[in-house]
Amino acid sequence: VCIHRIRSCSSIRFIKSKYVCVFDKSALKFSHQQRLFRTSAVSCGQIVQFKLSDIGEGITEVTVKEWYIKEGDSVSQFDSICEVQSDKASVTITSRYDGIIRKLHYNLDEIAYVGKPLVDIEIDASKGVAPEEDVVETPPMSHEEHTHQEIKGHKTLATPAVRRLAMENNIKLSEVVGTGKDNRILKEDILNYLAKQTGAILPPSPKAEIIPPLPKSETVPAAPKDKARKIPVPVSRPIVFSGKDKTEPITGFHKAMVKTMSAALKIPHFGYCDEIDLTQLVQLREELKPLAQTRGVNLSFMPFFIKAASLGLLQYPILNASLDESCQNVTYKASHNIGVAMDTEQGLIVPNVKNVQVCSVFEIASELNRLQSLGSAGQLGTNDLTGGTFTLSNIGTIGGTYAKPVILPPEVAIGALGKIQVLPRFNRKGEVFKAQIMNVSWSADHRIIDGATMARFSNLWKSYLENPASMLLDLK
């Protein structure tokens, strides 16, 4: 008779959830046959056609706009199934059952009808079945504290396994922390709660209930082989971590970085570092900052670093060059298009200031402001991002002292600037004074640049910055 019931169910349309309870009761009577039936077929629950329920306001049809599940997915009661739209109202349809999705009745953008089937769900038979011992299926209204928990302000019946454990162990569900969807209490949560109370991991109870593994659960309490009695000896709880690795494809900014850096690998880098005393420059900037402000420009240290670099490149043009792919020719670039590494929300971008060799410090500052505001709005154009010949990276604004910057092809050199620190130093008279010290780390392409050239360029750049007045002599 039980088997007959199952067969006939698949052809009858049911939407009332209490059907599941009815099935429970009948299963109790025919539990023997139930078990036999279960072991002979792997997942043979019956298919229930879940119909689209009333939307309200007399609406009869809606458009399916997004599916949250696909055929073969497991769903729990109250999981979102799809999003439908009707006349400016977007409705989230949630599942009434636990089970597996077997059929979607509509494609995206199709019209769905209220009262007609939306999806077919295979209800897992074993989930609805109580263990074969004579456990009286308690009517939902009594022992509420052991059978119901509050989800989103509604008293919701917990799953049979949870109810049984709670009743057996006299646990109030309101005291248990739920880790399922919407803080639903799962069987693991009751077991964890019990373990905390007794300091032991309790085995599943002796009643042979076949619970299929929940697809999302990672924690399985250790089950000793002897199920007949509870183990009283305190066992150290295994550390459970339910985080999952997440793999995603590399696209966009990350992809660009992978490409650039892989190309940079081909360049044999060498490094050269030094420290710069910026005490005088700090003072000079303090004086000039308000003047620049009146002209509507924010003056940082970068314009000085950039201009000094350009002056240095006039003396050492090989640092502003480019080596061709076959390493046969080196091209000395006429323009000093100095790139400034910028950290934006999306990642690293390097716009450049064009023709620094003919720009004043103020013009560089103004251009930097423009690039910075475009950069943070994600609006930089290709022109600003291409054509760079030399790059400076002011990592010091975030932190750090020395670094090992990577050259951006097709350039041959790059400088990383650390943060400005106040440190004690000795002056010419042998006295200790407060100095504003910044570290610089250069990297250069050793195929065409040698250490001596890099060192001399760095010394020249350093001298301009340590004694800003000397820049006046060579400014063009």
């Binding site: 939307i55 309200g56 306001e57 706009k65 997004e66 109250f78 999003e83 739209q85 009707s86 006349d87 400016k88 109202a89 977007s90 409705v91 989230t92 949630t94 995206l108 953008d109 509050e150 989103k152 302000g153 509604h154 494809p249 696209t251 966009g252 900014f253 992809k255 660009a256 970085m257 490409k259 650039t260 190309a263 480019s322 061709d324 792919e325 091209t331 999306q346 990642g347 971008i349 709005a377 994600g378 609006q379 930089l380 154009g381 290709t382 022109n383 991002l385 291409t386 054509g387 951006l408 092809p409 097709p410």
Partner: protein
Amino acid sequence: MVLQSSLKNCFQLSCILRTPKAGFRSTTSGSLIIQSISNDVYQNLAVEDWIHDHMNLENRQVLFLWRNSPAVVIGRHQNPWQECNLRLMRQKNIKLARRRSGGGTVYHDLGNINLTFFTTRKKYERMENLKLVVKALKALRPQLDVQVTDRYDILLDRQYKISGTAAKLGRTTAYHHCTLLCNTDKFVLSSVLKSPYKGLKSNATPSVPASVKNLFEEDPSLTWKMLLDAIAEEYATQHQIDHHITLINPADETALPGINNKTKELQSWEWVYGKTPKFSVSACFHMAHKDSVLDVKVDMDVKHGRIEVCNIDLPEQWLPPALCSELVKSLTGSKFCPNETTTLATTLLRVCPQDHELHRRCNLLCENMMMLM
């Protein structure tokens, strides 16, 4: 004084919201009128989410009042490229937000007030809510010719739309929200809600354009504050509660636990752009290069906001085929976004032969492609 009272109100609210059981039995369980102290569209949308997910509305209803600094808000299933001028918005720093309710695209600024009516799913009734608003407006200014249409719009003088509606229904709760144009910048509104993007083919919900008018234009003595108060007053009367507006701070994690996560999700690219239904772009542009004009055809399929398929048809040998195919390969899988396109193109240029002419051509192609995004 004002601050203290609002803090006290926030505290009261948190008591009611965090322990629904207590709220149930307490004597202060009646409908609520709340107003956001924030003008951030994402924070305010997050409050709607929060109330929808966490509040027990069995025995009470909630009216939520909010205003936003300039933003364009698209409906759940819409395509931003089809609905608004993203380029202009980026320049003017106007935010783009996607709400969870359906319906069309609207422009918000501080001259527009938003009203959200929260009820249980069973008590979801949009007409009633809009009639309440009209009643409030007429009580304030009896000579106003305002009426509700069967499309759930509110029309002024039978021709100008002053309010649009959208709704969201969940399993147990529902909300209906609408706008009300008090004193919005109509010039920005019309320029920003006009999409310049051609060649789009999509099944996304389209917006229905309408002529709009501000209530301020009809009666310059009206301010948004007066309108807000009038509506709150009418709501209080109909729900038999005190005309008392509780202020809430959408950044307060203690009063609204979990709200900051909701705000972050609403701000994420994946939600705002990634939820765009699948669409295709087919464009043909004429590039002026030196003395000639070239025809370029670009076809792209965009899914979840990312370029799924990309085809660029260039005049033969205008760009080295290797570079062209590398560009197409890079673009495939990346966001349909001018910033990403630029970054990928400029990266390619770093690793290819350094030829001025080549760079110029590539830049030109990129600039044109960015115009599509």
